[in-house]
């Protein structure tokens, strides 16, 4: 594995994933973007570009998951993360229910772009609730 836990912190207020903490973390992020840009710049068939990009993304995902798994949280951080993630999950479930209600109420076949808000809404709701939970738990204490 390439990424190291000490290069990153966990995202708490801006969704899920990692934030670079050191210059090595920043270089890691830039390298990911650089390889994707390189693949896109290659003069090869589009479906080959897609395959290479997909393989690269899968490799990065495995590395990022390994980094996140090796980040040790102390008991306070574990409790706060568990509560924040639970709250975010409930917000996303509620948002999905609202989205389904909206789609069925509209009563017509929705195209891809018309469906996008219904897909993005739960993600945004999850991010907002997770961030709010982290802020409140940090201030109020547990």
């Amino acid at each position: 594995m390439v990424g190291k836990a000490k290069w990153f912190t966990r995202r708490r207020y801006t969704g899920w994933g990692l934030m670079p903490k050191t210059w090595q973390g920043l270089v890691y992020i830039m390298a990911i973007a650089g390889v994707i840009a390189f693949i896109q710049a290659l003069k090869i068939a589009e479906n080959l570009k897609l395959i290479f990009t997909a393989v690269w993304v899968i490799l990065i995902l495995v590395d990022v998951l390994h980094v996140m798994a090796s980040m040790k949280l102390d008991e306070r951080e574990q409790k706060i993360e568990a509560i924040a993630e639970r709250n975010a999950a409930w917000a996303m479930i509620a948002s999905i229910a609202i989205s389904i209600l909206y789609v069925t109420t509209v009563g017509k076949e929705l195209t891809g772009t018309e469906l996008m808000p219904a897909l993005i809404f739960p993600l945004v709701a999850g991010v907002i609730v997770k961030a709010a939970s982290n802020v409140i738990l940090d201030r109020k204490g547990i």
Binding site: D74, R76, K140
Partner: protein
Amino acid sequence: MKTRIKEFRAKLNLTQEELADKVGVRRETIVFLEKGKYNPSLKLAYDVAHALKTQIEELFII
């Protein structure tokens, strides 16, 4: 819950970072413990008391 962690930490001349390293938690957790904004598990309370060379009852005041 009130704590006397800061008082005992000062007696041993330890920084929050040093105490955190001894106990195996983040410095932020020690900050929250000192402010009484986090109720630790029994194990953590014991580890902190042990690191500060005192008893749990001396350190945490309910």
